[in-house]
């Protein structure tokens, strides 16, 4: 038990209220701030650009939400995306039919996700260590594949590129469909409820007959499959796969989840919260660029957002848990 927070932390009710209201307040403040500071920020074309530029990130964040709910994490999604993007773009350039490229990317992503799942579930390695390891491997694999030659490719299929219908980017529809499905699964499918139960207490869930290993395995594979689609969106957006493709996406994906309010300690949150967190991160990155701040600073801002969100999450949880502890 830590002494300090018991003395200084605000009341549980206030904290809970603050936690639920924080993101909406931040979003409004963000929109007002950038709306005033950067005149083009609220233009339809800029907002469409934000959607196009963050669609791959959105899918990574959706997958990340599943494993964070499990009290896990996957820090290999960025490098994994790089590998799949290289393979997908190369297959496409080689003339493979687009739908087969999509299928191959999803399967490859799922396979790489299964590698993570195998280490975490089968090897009982903690998720952060296992995926740090595979992240390093994926980085090296991409570097070897890349072999000093950038692969140039356009969108594999139109919906995974910058195409718009009536001004609205089609890739945004893909994102909304994925989030819609995940929100449904998390609330209404047994698989989704199991993720919450495991994230609350994996051993307790096991004792109640929840297939903990299988459920976790599927979650990490799903992350990989989403990385597969995100990789093709990445190719459609950037148009080229280079030696470090995708690596910048891991941190913002985690940021979207934790800023959205899914607890890094597991068992609490949801994919719609992640959508809110994602909007916050995407607008932040865009607004800063519009204000003329060098993009270099993006890392600082996203990093700060993660640190603050996690600190807030852990403090809240500890205070609420302590309230329970005090009853003993």
């Amino acid at each position: 038990m830590s002494a300090v927070s018991a003395v200084t932390a605000p009341s549980p009710r206030l904290l809970t209220l603050l936690r639920d209201a924080l993101l909406p307040i931040l979003l409004v403040a963000e929109v007002i701030f950038f709306g005033l500071a950067a005149p083009d920020f609220l233009s339809a074309s800029n907002l469409a650009n934000v959607v196009i530029n963050s669609a791959d990130l959105a899918l990574l964040a959706a997958g990340m939400t599943l494993v964070v709910l499990l009290a896990g994490i996957d820090v290999s999604v960025g490098p994994m995306l790089g590998v799949v993007a290289w393979v997908g773009a190369s297959l496409f350039v080689a003339g493979l039919p687009p739908l087969l490229v999509v299928l191959a990317s999803v399967l490859l992503g799922g396979l790489l996700g299964a590698v993570n799942a195998g280490l975490i579930v089968g090897g009982r390695i903690s998720p952060i260590i296992a995926t740090l390891g595979t992240a390093a491997v994926f980085k090296t694999v991409l570097f070897v594949l890349w072999n000093s030659t950038d692969v140039f490719a356009g969108p594999v299929v139109p919906v995974l590129g910058p195409a718009r219908a009536g001004g609205f980017p089609l890739v945004g529809v893909v994102v909304l469909v994925v989030f819609g499905i995940f929100a449904y699964v998390l609330r209404h499918r047994v698989f989704g409820r199991r993720l919450f139960a495991i994230g609350n207490d994996a051993e307790g869930a096991r004792l109640l007959g929840v297939p903990v290993g299988r459920t976790s395995f599927v979650a990490y594979v799903l992350v990989g499959a989403l990385v597969g689609i995100a990789a093709l969106i990445y190719v459609g957006r950037v148009g080229v796969v280079q030696a470090t493709a995708g690596q910048e996406l891991t941190l913002p994906a985690i940021a979207a989840v934790v800023v959205g309010g899914t607890s890094i300690l597991g068992g609490e949150g949801g994919v719609l919260r992640t959508l809110g967190g994602l909007v916050f991160i995407a607008l932040l990155q865009n607004g800063v660029v519009l204000m003329g701040v060098p993009p270099l600073w993006n890392g600082v801002l996203v990093g700060l957002a993660v640190a603050l969100a996690v600190a807030f999450d852990v403090l809240t949880r500890r205070t609420l848990d302590k309230r329970i502890g005090a009853r003993k």
Partner: protein, 498 residues
């Protein structure tokens, strides 16, 4: 009565250790069977075999006439064996309703989770057990411990349980809460559920058991109807020798006041609480869970900051800002939850024992003097009769009672002027419990002021010279001498006047 569960020749070893040897018993429909035994006697192993957590090495089980060989906890559950473990596992950030149905969510035709059906069944279940239906919507972590425990029992019986196993369900409950639980157990038994009930509290036996069995070193040491449940006889069976469970206690001769607190107020838990503790005196602190006992201890130990009131140690003003301040003034605190607040699970027995005193063991240049540390640790291991194969033995390998002794020793090592013990014997076996009780009285007689918090009333009456009863954040009574009776304490606890 129809036999529901029958166990014959059950054996299980872990490595070289035989945890259970040739155990057999039967359990009839509606029967309430108490399972007794010291820590390490094999109670947990027996439960886990029945519940499918472990597989037996030898022996047979039948459930309702069918062979019972569960391959997993899920399989045992499906067969009708339901367990509420001692450290109840639940899902704090899910609603009570959802907690009831984890692992067996009702589904509709589209295999979706059927929330409507879940609610209907939850309401029906709570109604049947006489539990308040409003609880269903609350998050599990917003419930009191007793409410959580009752919700877990509701969950356990709702699976068409034929056998309900309760592993020390009352160890964290106060008497009033426990009685509520007994009523639920009674209802279940009347509905034909066979109940296997593990407890360390003898005074519960008459409420919860028709029969009892005793395990000793993994073997069955006794199987008797409750009518024959003479406490001394049970103790003999448990320990394998006649024991004197009562501790010997000289009459207190309290000296000067060591600790005084006045008007202590901590918003939400304490309002204007005062107490005094003298040299050579054991002061008990009793109350329902949530009455503010632990909060008072934490305030004295510098972990909670009061908004009003004052404290004095040996007459000097005392306003600790941290546990370090408290320790500097000679106060030691043994927290209630050894797993999360005391034990260093990755470390060996010796390092756990000497954790506090390290500064005094430092030689030149701040190097820890290992030889001295060993000497000190082995003295205390002997003196408290801690059962550890070696000083380097991992502390997590010791039984719960002996882990607690290590933590107890850790506080004694510092030679505190004021020793605060929060539930020092919760969930440990009778022999170890008696050791600790005996020792804490001795420590007081050597001059230390001892403050003991316990929900175990017989224990508190046995060790205390004076008892404070707390109720809803206030001092409800201060009892000593002839006024200090079980009846008086309970009346003060409940707020009933004479």
């Amino acid at each position: 009565m129809r036999t529901i569960l029958s166990v014959t020749g059950l054996s299980k070893s872990f490595g070289a250790t035989a945890a259970l040897t040739d155990v057999g018993f039967t359990l009839a429909a509606g029967e309430r069977l108490a399972l007794l035994g010291e820590n390490g006697a094999g109670k947990s192993t027996l439960i886990k075999l029945i519940a499918g957590v472990h597989r037996p090495d030898a022996g047979e089980m039948t459930l309702d006439g069918e062979p019972h060989r569960p391959a997993s906890p899920g399989a045992a559950l499906a067969a009708g064996v339901s367990v509420v473990y001692q450290e109840p596992s639940f899902f704090p950030r899910l609603s009570v309703l959802e907690n009831l149905f984890v692992g067996r969510e009702p589904r509709d035709r589209l295999t979706q989770v059927d929330w409507g059906e879940m609610r209907t069944r939850g309401v029906e279940l709570f109604g049947r057990l006489g539990l308040p239906v409003e609880l269903l919507n609350r998050r599990m972590d917003a419930l009191s411990l007793a409410e959580q425990q009752l919700a877990l029992i509701a969950r356990a019986v709702d699976v068409d349980a034929k056998v309900l196993i309760l592993d020390e369900p009352t160890s964290i409950l106060t008497d009033a809460e426990a009685r509520r639980l007994f009523r639920v157990v009674q209802r279940l038994s009347e509905a034909g559920v066979a109940i296997l009930y593990i407890t360390h509290r003898f005074e519960e036996l008459e409420h919860v058991a028709d029969r009892f069995i005793v395990l000793k070193d993994g073997r069955l040491a006794g199987d008797l109807p409750a009518a024959a449940a003479d406490h001394d006889r049970i103790l003999e069976m448990m320990s394998g020798r006649p024991v004197n469970a009562t501790i010997s206690r000289s009459v207190a001769d309290p000296g000067a006041v060591v600790l005084e607190a006045d008007g202590i107020t901590v918003p939400g838990s304490l309002s204007g609480v005062g107490l005094t503790v003298r040299e050579s005196e054991v002061v008990g602190l009793y109350g329902l869970v949530g009455a503010g006992r632990t909060e008072l201890a934490l305030t004295v130990f510098g972990m909670l900051r009061p908004t009003a009131g004052s404290m004095r140690v040996r007459g000097e003003p005392y306003a600790p800002k941290s546990p370090r301040d408290a320790m500097a003034r000679g106060i030691a605190y043994l927290p209630e939850d050894r797993k999360t607040q005391g034990l260093f699970p990755g470390m060996d027995t010796m390092s756990n024992l000497t954790a506090v005193l390290l500064p005094a063991l430092l030689g030149r240049f701040g190097v820890i003097r290992r030889a001295k540390e060993r000497e000190l640790a082995s003295t205390w291991v002997r003196s408290l009769r801690i059962k550890a194969p070696t000083l380097d033995f991992p502390v997590t390998g010791l039984s719960g009672g002996h882990q607690q002794k290590v933590l107890f020793a850790r506080q004694l090592v510092t030679g505190p002027e004021i020793l605060i013990l929060d539930e020092p014997t919760r969930g440990i076996d009778v022999a170890t419990k008696t050791d600790i009780q005996q020792r804490l009285v001795e420590v007081a007689r050597e001059g230390t002021a001892v403050l003991v918090i316990s929900s175990d009333l017989p224990e508190l009456l046995a060790v205390s010279d004076r008892v404070y009863v707390m109720r809803e954040g206030r001092m409800a009574a201060e009892l000593h001498g002839d006024d200090l009776t079980e009846d008086a304490v309970l009346r003060a606890t409940m707020g009933v006047n004479r």
